[in-house]
Symmetry: C2
Subunit: 349 residues, 2 copies
DNA sequence: CGAGTTTGATTTAACGATAAATCAGAGTAA
DNA sequence: TTACTCTGATTTATCGTTAAATCAAACTCG
């Protein structure tokens, strides 16, 4: 077992051959060097005994490949994977990378701007990168692309981009939820969403407004709260929304975390969900099925999205995707009806 | 910006110096090579213009350091960071590594056994590893130690081990919760816990039994469910527990995930929490404050634990901890009283 | 029996960075 | 003038691996 310092040279010395022969044996068929069966066995036995493992740095340097995929999250304060969305996506990425034989590197460096950060991400530490839900204000994707780094983007900030990745069909997702509410007789539907720093959030907001207009439903003053940030105290704002003179009978939250906050606000305001207020979330993150009542939400296959992004990236890295062109997968969300939505209450007036 | 292929040699060529001079300039004071101010400036300017970034593989090979910390979770099926515990710990590790300038590598390789996996983890890809909550049946820690890999273990499987890391004082944690229940007048306290594959879980179980014995409280048949696994359908077992002829008035769950399941079971059985049944969890994972009622639980500073493990490991890697000996931090949990515990109901009989 | 092929290797030269040793020239002192 | 120091570099060697070229001996064939 030693202290992990077994090199090809050491094996070669003990086997009485050159290092190249050892390399050829341990790399199987990728070399054109011929080796006699007897020599091969001797070397394989030695390698197993000494518990040889190729030095990843040396191999990476020579092969110009690291068998590692970098993942880049947007930092929020001092945290990166602080929510269930990121966690599930990462879990999927790990699984996808695992099947392809790649490891995952989490860059702890923040992306500031092309000028400030580009160099740090061009250190050849990884064969490619997965960028998760970049902000629209960021130049990460453009920057990394320009550096020639193979990329896959999850929930890209650019529509129809030529960057491969996995995007969400927010139009379908929102419409699914809104139609569901409409079918339940709701006409007073409010929208709460986070600060639209990400395209998805802006889109969800837009689709809501468009859908409301198309259905000729009014969006009264105060019905739209589109700059809420989890972590800050949202309760006052949400309670104000629910206490409006003509309060909404349904609230569509742009993500589950906010939906949970709405549930909380409803409780303090004394509105029972779903009898007096319907709540719809988005993402179907783990907590959605743990709340009381369980959350009706728009399901995003986050784990699978991570897996697919990894597969896409690996295909790109290994040059298998040239023929298929820039492959952007569009994910169609699914409506999951649970217990937080019900028929609209009878109108009082 | 080019395609990220700027090497020291390229800069040297353009600056009209040797690569060594460039290396000396860009590495600041770590070299003993003297460089004239004018030359220094010229090189720095060029490096900035060309957006030079040292090749991490080459540097790693030469320096025998990678500035990367490996993290090893135990796989559960095809998932690794599938729960809030892992997520929060990892988030903390990332933060801790970030401040020390280290990146994080998630090995996608599973640890099977010393014989099967040791080599794969000795590939010099990382400067050290953090092992998160290993199973007692696993030989990871011993194996990696034998390979000479600097280690930090979170929630180790070995008590008082000589491996640095962060351990949990389960004795204090459980006692805190049990005393709380006792103070509320509970005498019929049940225990539910996951299969004791991890030392922590076995300990919590043991402390429960010991505490009950010390307080001369009976542990009736069926009061202990110590091999439940999240993911499987636990509801039947939990409902059976709550429907026992002489049912518990309080249930202590060895982790929050199980506590949530207990809450669910209570709901279907028709027991109101906390009026008819008190529930205590363990970990204080994110969901604990989102359930209805909010969970009384034993708080573990998971994020901070991750940070500390990273710091500990970095200290060890950089040789700063030799004087302090094997540093094992013991984390004292904290009781967080929320809404799932209340005075024991009056006895019926 | 000499020319060409097959087998089983070896040698050489990188990959990019850096530790350590060496070196050329100017300045200083005896 | 000779010896020594200081400045500002350069050269050399190496980290461990592997692509590509080369090589020696045995074997085949006309």
């Amino acid at each position: 077992m030693k202290n992990g310092k077994v090199t090809l040279g050491e094996i070669a010395r003990q086997a009485g051959t050159s290092t190249m022969t050892v390399s050829a044996v341990l790399n199987g068929s990728r070399s054109n060097t011929r080796v006699a069966d007897e020599t091969r066995k001797r070397i394989e036995k030695l390698a197993a005994e000494l518990n040889y493992s190729p030095n990843a740095m040396a191999r990476g340097l020579r092969r110009q490949r690291t068998d590692t995929i970098g993942v880049l999250f947007t930092w929020a304060g001092s945290r990166t994977i602080h929510n269930l969305y990121s966690m599930t996506v990462l879990d999927g990425i790990v699984a996808g990378a695992a099947t392809a034989g790649y490891h995952i590197l989490l860059y702890t460096q923040r992306w500031e701007s092309v000028a400030a950060s580009a160099a740090a991400f061009a250190d050849q530490r990884t064969d490619g990168m997965i960028v998760v839900a970049p902000l629209e204000s960021s130049d990460v994707v453009a920057g990394l692309t320009e550096l020639g780094i193979p990329l896959a983007v999850i929930s890209s900030s650019v529509k129809d981009s030529c960057v491969p990745g996995v995007n969400i069909d927010n139009d379908t997702g929102m419409t699914l939820g809104l139609d569901h509410l409409a079918a339940l007789g709701h006409t007073q539907i409010a929208y709460v969403g986070p600060t639209p720093e990400r395209r998805s959030m802006r889109e969800r907001h837009d689709v809501y407004l468009r859908w409301m207009a198309e259905h000729e439903l009014p969006v009264p003053e105060g019905y739209v709260l589109a700059d809420l940030n989890i972590g800050e105290s949202l309760q006052p704002d949400l309670e104000r929304l629910l206490r409006l003179p003509e309060p909404p009978t349904a609230v569509f939250a742009a993500n589950d975390d906010l939906a949970v906050e709405v549930l909380e606000a409803a409780r303090t305001v004394g509105l029972s969900v779903p009898e007096q207020l319907s709540v719809v979330g988005f993402d179907d993150v783990l907590v959605a099925s743990l709340t009381t009542p369980k959350l009706t939400t728009i399901r995003l296959p986050l784990y699978e999205m991570g897996q697919q992004a990894a597969q896409l990236l690996v295909a790109r890295i290994e040059g298998r995707s040239e023929s298929e062109g820039p492959s952007v997968q569009i994910i169609s969300p699914e409506l999951i009806v649970r217990d937080s939505t019900a028929a609209a209450p009878a109108v009082h007036s």
